[in-house]
Amino acid sequence: MKETPETNKKTKADVSRRKFITRAAIGAGATAVSAFSETKAASAIDNPDIKPIKVPDEFALAAKAQFAKAEFPMTGAQVFARVCKEEGLAVLFSCPGNYSIVNAIAQEGIPTYSGRHEGAMCHAADGFCRVTGEVAAASGTEGPGFTDMINAIAAANAARSPVLVLASNMAIVNEDTEAGIQLGYQQPTTEGLKKYGKRLITPKRIHEYGAYAFRQLRTGVPRPVHLDFPAEVTRAKFEKPSDLDYYYDKTKYRTTAKPYPNPKDITAAVELLKQAQRPMIVSSNGVFYSRAWDALKTLAEKAQIPVVESGAMKGQFSDASPLSANAAPGALASADVVVLVGQYCMPTVGEFAFGPDAKYIRIDPVAEDIGRNLPIDVGMVSCEKAALEALAEAMPAMKHDAWIAEIAAARKKFEDELETFYAKGASYTDAVHPAVIAKELSDFMYRGKLPKEQTTFVAGGYGIARYVRRWLRGYRPGQILNGAYQYGAIGPDVGYAVGAAVAVRHGVSVQAAHKSAPVICVTGDAGIGYTIMELETASKYRLPIIVIVYNNNAWGTWTGSSRSPVTLSLHLFQENVRYDKVAEGLGAHGEYVTKPTDFRAALERAYQIAIKESRPSLINCQAKKEFWVRQQYEPGFLGTVEPGCMSYNH
């Protein structure tokens, strides 16, 4: 970044990249210092002239470093960082740039991680939100650092993630001059991709806007908030709290109050549910963000209402329950009353598999979304947790034995079909079929030595996702991160995995019981190309991530051009690309699996490395594009039925 005369007013020591790196390395604080060891690649062992990949000593020093929390007099950046701390910002992901803000946040003791691309770091923040329910921030420098984040902001917006996007933005005094480089209007660029945004131009209001940003992030339906900081604001000096406008004391601007359901709506919903023969609850984002899983369980069990999940994360309702309908897609069309709870991204008619006669009760924290896309019979504006608690209280104990038996039968039929997919996939021995990956991964996570609720999973990819998700099960909140979700971006997966692994490392929120456990991520060969460099980030911070790459030598879209010699090649990569070698070059462990029988052993090895060395791995599963052709390789490319384990769009 080129600095303008304004930005040069700050001392070099305060804004230097070296200082930034030291601050960012504070994120490594939760990692044992001993973990920062050399990675001995085979080439290094064979050739003493080749030095091993090594985490710089500064990381170990940073892990021991003391935070130097600011006291008044404070800069604008320090005031903002204090707001972040007070409001519970859980983590910051960044790339160099926006130094004043990043350094101040790190000094507040908020875990701070730096990666290779601002977009991937913003995906990491999104991933962190989706497995913890907490607010995470992403930061980039003005201009290109900020615009690198756009795709990730859009993905987080579609997923309704409370990502705080922070970007420096030169100096007010230089606006419209094109002095220096990297000038750009940021706020119009995120129009339609955020819940709230503001270019801060009045230094003494920085605290007020910071607090307002968190109110936006923590209330109603969460979505990204984008703040951009000119130098005059971050470097302003404040001698005492009263130098700031409005209120410094959070009791004057914050409440934990939530919208409670109207009793009339509860009565109407109860009446509808009492008449229902085959009721069902759809649990989505709002159940996770309002921490309503216990209330959901109480209601479901008391009234014997099956639950199916949808949304950007899964696991709020355990698949171990006989009331779970996640793996019973064939039963969905039988539901006669459907309770949609916190389904922020609402499908249109026909996108969910519920039949045309189903009646809908929709619970949403904001009134404007009620009735959007799907007709309702009862609309309830409420915090999801409050509504579920009220419904659980008001509903009588009920029985729906025949309905639950129907769901059990549908689940068995679905799982029997999965077995046939696996048998077929395993019979193709010259490459690794997606059904083999999905089934054996599922066995490893849920039916082996690991506690089935332990592994946090990033379900990414495109074609491979349609297989893996069918076998995925959630047993606790925050266990499954539902990939690119509604925005459908290709390639965020390693970024998501970094965010999830940081959440697990720190044991944040619902990840507390699984602290430091390995995280597994599935992606495709198209997707890995976007964020594979973040394996270097994962290796640098010793994040135990296992990335499984389904490598079929093609974009998932190739079948659309399969009969077009002119355009087919546009969808193809080189065959047999060695992503595992790239991973090794970045400090991760690499596995190349070319036969279905070798997958499980490679997974076991990668897991052991994750456990023993806290180091990432990439398992490159060599497939072939023709696996998507049903006539050649049954069952071919699969579709999706939503909601449930296959949920992809909503």
Partner: protein, 153 residues
């Protein structure tokens, strides 16, 4: 005075329009209903009370007679009568029978009701078409991409 058979059908369909399931519901000629429904496509339902038949005309394009998908479709429809299906998902042969026909690769789905049980017939046929599209989403996403402009991603 008893409602005409067509009025029973009209009112049954109107219920879906009133609930927001069907959009742009209209009747161009007597017994020829049009509405936008699944995949945001216009669908045409023809009623022939003389033969007690409800027919979704030219519902599925690109399925030649004798093709694998045509055979699969026929199997799917036959299974709608399977007594192992729950009653609320089944088409009871004693009350109605479902079939399909193909002309020029265009498949129409018909339901012939018995003893003028049109309320039952409309309900079963609408639910069956819904089930059919769920099935296609699950098993034949490529078909929907090619023939219904469903986004490939």
């Amino acid at each position: 005075m008893a409602k005409s058979q067509l009025q029973v059908i009209r009112e049954s369909l109107q219920t879906y329009a009133d609930r927001g399931i069907f959009r742009e519901f209209s009747e161009s000629k007597t017994g020829q209903f049009h509405f936008v429904w699944l995949l945001h496509r216009e669908m045409n339902l023809q009623v022939d009370t003389a033969t007690q038949t409800l027919r979704f005309k030219q519902l599925l394009p690109g399925i030649p007679t004798g093709s694998a998908l045509h055979a699969e479709l026929k199997k799917f429809l036959t299974e709608r009568h399977d007594r192992r299906l729950p009653e609320h998902r089944r088409v009871d042969r004693r009350r109605a029978e479902v079939s399909c026909s193909s002309r020029g690769g265009m498949v129409s789905i018909s339901l012939k009701v018995k003893k003028n049980q049109y309320t039952y017939g409309v309900n079963r046929l609408v639910n069956l078409i819904h089930d059919l599209f769920v099935y296609l989403r699950d098993k034949h996403p490529d078909y929907l991409v090619e023939n219904f402009d469903v986004p490939q991603e």
